[in-house]
Amino acid sequence: MAFLHGLGMVCILLGIPFFVSGTIGLLRFPDIYTRLHALTKADNVGLGFVVLGLALQAEEWNTVARLLLIWLLVLIASSASCHLVARAALRRKIQPWTRP
């Protein structure tokens, strides 16, 4: 049990840097497309790790199932919203950033 708990902790700690880098990317990247990239890609990996960690620490199957559901929903929501934002940006004719 303690092993699973520790493994979960490691997973969560692994996930955090992804979140952080995703957020930094969101704040620092030059245009909307790269920001979207940073946000959805990095965050989804981070989320996967965190959910995995929490699932390992969970006491019941019930909780694991709920965590999985959350993971799935967030994945769907983030990919769909990423798509929608990018589509809206394209429609507004916002040019992707290129290295000057």
Partner: protein, 347 residues
């Protein structure tokens, strides 16, 4: 571990006013609204930290989510009207009043600004001092609530307060919500400009996938409300989110809901609540005094009805006006955009 949480608390408590400051100071309205939404999410985290899960759910769904959506759609409408403000990426030009010449503004600003800032700081310090000075009442009505939980018919204390001990407040609150819908409907009509937009495959799939799930979640939240965090408002907010999604995706079903049905859906919750409250008087009880041991059933009944109405009402608020007229001009009429101006003249 406690120290980590303590550190987290400090960061959170500092981040809230900082975000508030940033959002009001930003010259870009869109950025301000985005910051407002993130502030709402942080608030919701704060509620969790302060052991108020019910409020956290409501804040995330209503305070951050729906209010944010309202702001965004209003912003879009304002932009479409003015065509001047910001674009997605660039900080737009300031919308400060141009009527005052800039040199005058600069002259007027420091004194008034410093003065008002000073007054505010004094106000905060005084209030903070008085808050620190006076010990709070021990537990407030908490013990009283805990003592009467047995007769409330539910296990969750918050739900017991909301729908039993202080159910009258909630009844009036439903009226506020109804009034908001009434106000929005009386002011304007939904624009029909988006009619042509096609949702696109991703959004359509998302809607097909999520809306049924959201309805289930809403039902679950209402059901679980009697024993844990959740309840009519949280469930209603999820329903409203489903409604907003449908509106965004421009699903034709939403546009084809008959106006009469929509009106009934708006009224359903408050009306049933009111009738239940009065029906309680039938057995010789007071207003809202649920007879005998049946409080739990009544509460669930009221919660289900109000959740539907809350959902419909919030979605209607998002839609931002009464439904567009069917092709034939109906008698309950409209002044088109801007035509209020010329009509206003001749009283």
């Amino acid at each position: 571990m406690m120290d980590v949480m303590g550190f987290f608390d400090i960061v959170l408590a500092l981040a809230l006013p900082w975000l508030g400051w940033r959002l009001l100071a930003s010259s870009d309205l869109f950025r301000a609204v985005v910051l407002f939404i993130s502030l709402g999410l942080l608030m919701s985290l704060t509620w969790v930290r302060l052991q108020a899960p019910d409020v956290a759910l409501a804040e995330a769904a209503i305070g951050a989510g729906l209010t944010g959506a309202l702001f965004l759609s209003a912003l879009r409408r304002l932009e479409r009207l003015s065509e001047s403000e910001r674009r997605l990426e660039h900080a737009g030009k300031r919308e400060e009043d141009e009527t005052i010449p800039p040199e005058k503004r600069r002259r007027a600003k420091p004194v008034a600004y410093v003065l008002s800032l000073f007054l505010l700081v004094v106000f905060v310090l005084l209030l903070g001092w008085s808050l620190g000075q006076t010990p709070g009442a021990k537990g407030g009505l908490g013990p009283a609530v805990a003592g009467q939980m047995g007769q409330s018919g539910v296990q969750s204390q918050v739900t017991a307060v909301l729908l039993n001990f202080r159910g009258y407040d909630t009844l009036l609150e439903m009226m506020v919500l109804f009034l908001a819908a009434l106000g929005v409907w009386s002011l304007t009509r939904v624009r029909q400009t988006q009619q042509g937009e096609v949702p696109g495959p991703v959004l359509a799939t998302l809607v097909r996938l999520l809306v049924p799930l959201m309805i289930i979640v809403a039902g679950y939240l209402v059901w679980i409300g009697s024993s844990r965090a959740g309840g009519a408002f949280q469930g209603g907010a999820v329903l409203a989110a489903a409604g907003v999604l449908l509106l965004l995706a421009n699903v034709t079903v939403v546009r084809q809901v008959p106006a009469g049905l929509l009106r009934w859906a708006l009224v359903l919750g408050p009306l049933l609540f009111l009738l239940t409250a009065v029906a309680c008087m039938g057995g010789g009880g007071n207003l809202l005094e649920y007879p005998g041991q049946s409080a739990g059933v009544w509460i669930l009944f009221i919660e289900s009805a109000t959740a539907v109405s809350i959902g419909v009402t919030l979605a209607a608020l998002y839609a931002g006006g009464r439904p567009p007229a069917p092709s034939a001009p109906e008698k309950d009429n409209e002044e088109g955009p801007g035509s209020g101006v010329d009509k206003g003249g001749k009283a």
